[in-house]
Amino acid sequence: MIETKVESEREPNYRKFMIEAHRRFHDRIVADLNGILPICNQGKCTAADISDSVTEQQQITDLMQKVEQLCTHLSENVTDLFSQYYRERGRFCGAAYTTTAEIKVNLVDRTLLDRSTDVRWWSKEPILAACVNAMKKTGKVLISDFEELAAFFEGTIASFRIPSMASGWTSMDLTDRVKEITSFFPRRMELMFDPSIRQQFEKVLTAFIDFLKTGEGQEATIKFAGKLMTKLAGCEKHIKSACQQLEMIRATYPSMFDIIVTDDQGIVLANARPDRRAELHAKDMSQQSWCQRALKIASNQTHIERAVLKDEAYSAIVFSNAIRDPEDRQAGVLGTISVFCDFQSEIQSLLDKYLPTEKDGRPRDGWFSFFTDERGVVVCSNDPGAILPGAHCDLPRAHRLLVNGETVWSHNVFKGRESIIFSACSTGQKSIGGSGWISHLVAPVSDIMQAETHATRLNMGHAEIMESKLIPEISKVTYAELQEDRQAIKLISLNGILFASQLGKRGAALAPVFDKITATGDSATSRMESLLYEMAESEIGLNLHLQETLARQAVDLMSQKIFERSLALRLWSRTQSLRTVLSSPTDESLQEVAGLLRMINEDYPVYRNILLLNNRGEIKACSKPKRIVDYETFSVADHLWYMKAIRSNTDHPTTVSEGQVGELDKSKFESLVFARSIPGEKADSSPAGVLACLFDWQSEATEILGFCLPKSSTGRPVPGAVAFFTNKDQRVLESTHAATVKVQEYIQLPDEHFQLTAGQTYSSKFMLNGVSYIAATAICDDCKTRDGLGWSAHILRPLI
């Protein structure tokens, strides 16, 4: 992963971002300080009036000059202070929002990776291979079959010329009937694909056969015609099964436009959408790049591209894969499967996520989130009306030419509004190298630089705020300088008043000068001090908000992962071979199923094991038998996850449960159990068993947590920050820093952190091992996983 952080070289003029209150504040302080200068001049003049002593005059003039210098210094300081504030705010938001952009694109990459694995798995579905094989075989022999049938018919016509044959038909009648039948021969594809044409053909051929049965010596013709009809009926049956399978997949993943299966010539054999079947079936797709690429692809890869569909509002993302012979996967390609995903709808919620919203729930005006591909073409956007998928987007070159892992943010005018654009290229997934897409997040400058920050609920004193690590170092330096200047002005004033007092009546004229200096100095410095506190509080508020967002992102990433996995299981549980082996297990069929589970596990290495259990809770097959203790006799009938799964039906969501697998799995690692009932042979029969997957979530969690650690303005994780997941019982499941937050132990965060409802976030001050932290918590959105795991993500950031 390249960790280069590119920052805008063009340093903007931060003065123009100042909010009105700050501008007024700045102007007032500067005016106050400038007001001291004439007072100092007055003091110098008074010195000459009240004393003839050169030493005394010099003492007064020195004091006045010191005041002048200090005022100039303070005036410069106050201007710098605002610049620093806005610059730091820009940098901080730059780091924070590019992380959001990074998280989005990496989440999309994960979705792409998961989906391409799914498509690879679907391509192995025997029903599809059988359909392609049958159609291929039939298609190959159909022409010669027609020729042969035609030859049979010639013989039949000849034989009917023999007068001995008892029939009312003349050879002329026969010729007409044969012509009618052979007129279907050129419509070979329609006969294979269109059930109505096939039925018409079958009708005339059956009538002809019935007539031939009345004659003699026509057995061979009748037999051949019968075989041909069976072949054509077989085509229809295979297409129907394949279409049903594809429909089932599409029902599980509703965001798909369609799924298309072609043979190795690119002819569409089956699809998932019934309404498009008549139009698509037998259509030649060989010129489509997704079809061509799928035919050439290696067995462990999935081709991904964007395709425009004429009937759809938005372009689709196509995942295509080769269908190979299940008996010999190294053999040539039988056909292709291409899954057309409505990616725009699928990730609309992701695109809208983490964007501030209006009261009606819509993203705030001027905020955009979208992805572009390596050519700068928009793949999908949160506002397709403004940023059209499939079109080029007007972005600066630096934002279009990022490579894996790079990020950039800069100030630009976007859609007529001064904005900050945060962009991040995907870091690349282990196996596929990433989509190479770039995630862009656009925010109006006013919302970033001029956002109102509310007083934090951390209840921190001013001194504590100024000591906080959340405050930029430069603000602390300014604060210290301010204190020194304040002290210096005070001393000058005190000594000035002392001097005037010592002069007795002569010094009376000086007293108002020093009083005024004291008052103005005090007011200017205390104003600056309160501004510094306000800025510091705003920094802390911003930090809290972003830390909560990071926690939310962590929990969202994890629940997305869990959700995706539970969907896959829903499909697998409907595999016919699993149902069959549970109803009538034989050694051979169990071996076959174990092989199938092994194959799934190879494609989805996130599972520690995949188990097939019968309705008594006994393990009948698994992908990794060596990991099971007492494989032959072990029963999970009393395990909660099994009981929940066996009682569920196909409409219920997949059961996802924690733990209870220690005795099952020899490893010390924790797993989540995804379990789903396998329907019985008949629709109304009880479940035949359960398919369970032990999900190795820890390695996923480690990666996610590491990614969601708060980062400094340099883009590096903040030292001492810790991210961790807990379950409902406040037990730590995974942590980025086990020495600080120990895994398996219970963490004593304030109660409010564990009283959140789905999708809520909370933050507070928290002491752990003598270190003060800001703790931000987000709970997973149960609507998505629908299982109520209730996990939370927590981000701790050292405060002092």
């Binding site: 002290q487 005070k490 001393l491 005190l494 000594n495 008043i497 002392l498 007092s501 010592q502 007795g504 004291t518």
Partner: protein
């Protein structure tokens, strides 16, 4: 009768002394640590060619609150009796025969107080050097009689040395 005083903070309490006995308000000065066996005199200061004993007012006044950062302390140079200005002498101010530096937590401001409003010192403040208490905006200001304070200190030091 009005008197111009300077105020300073020791812990949470504000104290006051006549302004005209001050030579200079100067937080930074060259200090040399001395070992006199009494924590109230931690060092001597060198101010414009003069050496002056430093009195730690926290210890002198017996404050129990948490000590502040030594680098952040404020110091006031108190003139010797013969250095007092004419105004000071006219006001019958009494200091000491040598200049003295007072070290305190924080300097306050300069106030004109009406001595008619001076109340007797509360009974729990038993030291002789308290002149009385005046109510000001930031609380009860305790006025200190500097010469009495020095006398008390000198007596105690003599007693301690036997």
């Amino acid at each position: 009768m009005n008197e111009r005083i300077f105020t300073f903070w020791v812990g949470e309490q504000i104290y006051g002394m006549p302004l005209l006995m001050v030579g200079e308000f100067c937080p930074s000065m060259q200090l040399t640590t001395v070992e006199v066996g009494d924590g109230r005199i931690p060092s001597v200061a060198h101010v414009r060619g003069t050496t002056a004993v430093v009195l730690d007012m926290r210890k002198v006044l017996g404050t129990t609150t948490q000590d502040s950062d030594p680098t952040q302390k404020d110091r006031v140079f108190i003139l010797a009796q013969d250095q007092l200005c004419e105004e000071g002498l006219n006001n019958n101010l009494k200091t000491y025969e040598e200049p003295i530096v007072l070290e305190m937590d924080r300097l306050g401001s300069i106030l004109d107080v009406d001595l008619h409003e001076l109340h007797p010192t509360p009974s729990h403040l038993t030291a002789e050097f308290y002149r009385g208490v005046i109510q000001i905006q930031s609380g009860d200001l305790i006025l200190i009689d500097f010469s009495t304070l020095i006398e008390c200190l000198a007596k105690e030091l003599q007693k301690a040395s036997g």
